[in-house]
């Protein structure tokens, strides 16, 4: 009221002052709302990431359980009966039998035990391929591909351009498992006639690329399946690559006739 009685209100200083004051208030309000929005977005992102981690973790646990069940089944269904049969050949009555029957029984038991040893070796190799352990990723992939080629149903080949310095053993195993899973998926779902794998070395990373001419996935499909409850194998690929900070990209070739899967794995200092 006092201000109105004087001619302060009509002075330019008054307008300038009020203008600056309103601008300052507007700035503060903007800062508050903007920061709140950013925090809300961050919380949402963290929630999504936690959810994704949960899915990956459960996929990893499920895979582990399946692996254990498979080993248990192999041991129980294959090794168990073989050893039980060998035991039957070597029972107490063996001493009462004639010499030729004794030799026959021992020979049969020996054969069964050899078979059991081979079976246990196979189980062990499926857990950690010896070629991978002793000769590295290149040899293991070559070995794996030659087995597929041996079936004659598909043309599979691979080319490693520069793999002189081996990656760490755990890293190699994880990459090998990812390649196995991808090849399995292509064999099962894509109806492809060939698969071609190439490896290239960067200074700080290693690139592995798979080409095939069957039905494939795009990155969108991969992300969608990663979030859904289906596609356990893809989730395992994701969780394995997460361990080695690797990335994967599914895409269709520009000619629309091939599908490509690119795995990018960063190297550690001693792997360069």
């Amino acid at each position: 009221m006092f201000l109105l009685q004087t001619n302060v209100v009509s002075s330019p200083i008054f307008f300038g002052t009020i203008g600056m004051f309103l601008l300052a208030i507007a700035l503060i309000i903007f800062i508050i709302f903007h920061q709140r929005r950013v925090i809300r977005y961050q919380v949402k992102m963290q929630g999504m990431e936690a959810e994704q981690q949960k899915v990956l973790l459960s996929a990893s646990v499920k895979l582990q359980e399946e692996e254990r069940q498979r080993i248990a089944a192999d041991l129980h269904d294959d090794a168990g009966p073989l050893l039980a049969t060998a035991r039957l050949y070597l029972n107490e009555n063996l001493v009462n039998q004639d010499r030729s029957s004794q030799l026959q029984s021992i020979f049969s038991a020996k054969e069964i035990i050899d078979e059991t040893i081979q079976l246990i070796r196979n189980i062990s190799h499926s857990l950690m391929p010896p070629t991978l352990k002793n000769f590295g990723l290149e040899s293991a992939v070559n070995d794996f591909f030659s087995k597929i080629n041996g079936s004659g149903s598909m043309n599979v080949n691979c080319r490693f351009h520069d793999y002189k310095i081996r990656l760490k053993a755990e890293k190699e195993l994880l990459i090998f498992r990812v390649i196995q899973e991808l090849i399995n998926n292509i064999l099962k779902h894509s109806n492809a006639s060939f698969i071609h794998l190439t490896q290239h070395n960067g200074t700080e990373n290693m690139i592995i690329r798979l080409h095939h001419d069957g039905r494939g996935l795009t990155q969108e499909d991969f992300i969608k399946m990663g979030k859904s409850n289906i596609g356990l194998g893809l989730k395992n690929i994701q969780s394995r690559l997460k361990v080695i900070r690797g990335e994967i990209l599914f895409e269709q070739d520009s000619s629309q006739s091939f599908f490509k899967v690119t795995i990018d794995v960063p190297k550690d200092e001693n792997e360069r």
Binding site: P12, G19, Q35, V38
Partner: protein
Amino acid sequence: MIVLGVFTDEYTIYLKFNGVANYPVFNLFLIIEAALLFTFFYNILSLKYSKIFIFPVVGIFSLYWLLSFVKHGLDSFLDFNAAIENISIIILSILYYYEQITVNFNREIYIKPRFWVVSAYMLYSAGTFFLFLFIGTVASNQQQNIYILNYAFLVIKSILLSIAMLMKNEPGIRKTFTLT
């Protein structure tokens, strides 16, 4: 700073009633207030470049204040110095807000007492910027009337500072323990 402000106001009123010029006290208050505020901003700004920005501001402001004080400090209020202080505080406040929206995503900005302190000085500085810049151009009989705006912004500043003081201090970084 609040205590200093109240003391300055009371003392200048006392001087005015006794017929003594109170401009030197106001001018001294200006540099002390600026020094305290620049120190406050130096402590709350976290980015290196923001902190570095304060040094030239302090240097230029101090030099200009010293020259002005030697020349007119005893017989008039250094209103242009006050305007420079205001624009410096506005810039530093904007830097603080910028840091808060780019760096701090953990808690809402208004939960911190220092946000209210910065806002108090930002609003006061923005409100009185034109006032101090152009008060010298207004006829002396009108100056008292316009100066009422300053008191209005002082009230707003005091309210915001009170909010800051009533708020709980920000919790420090929680210590982490390692299980052995």
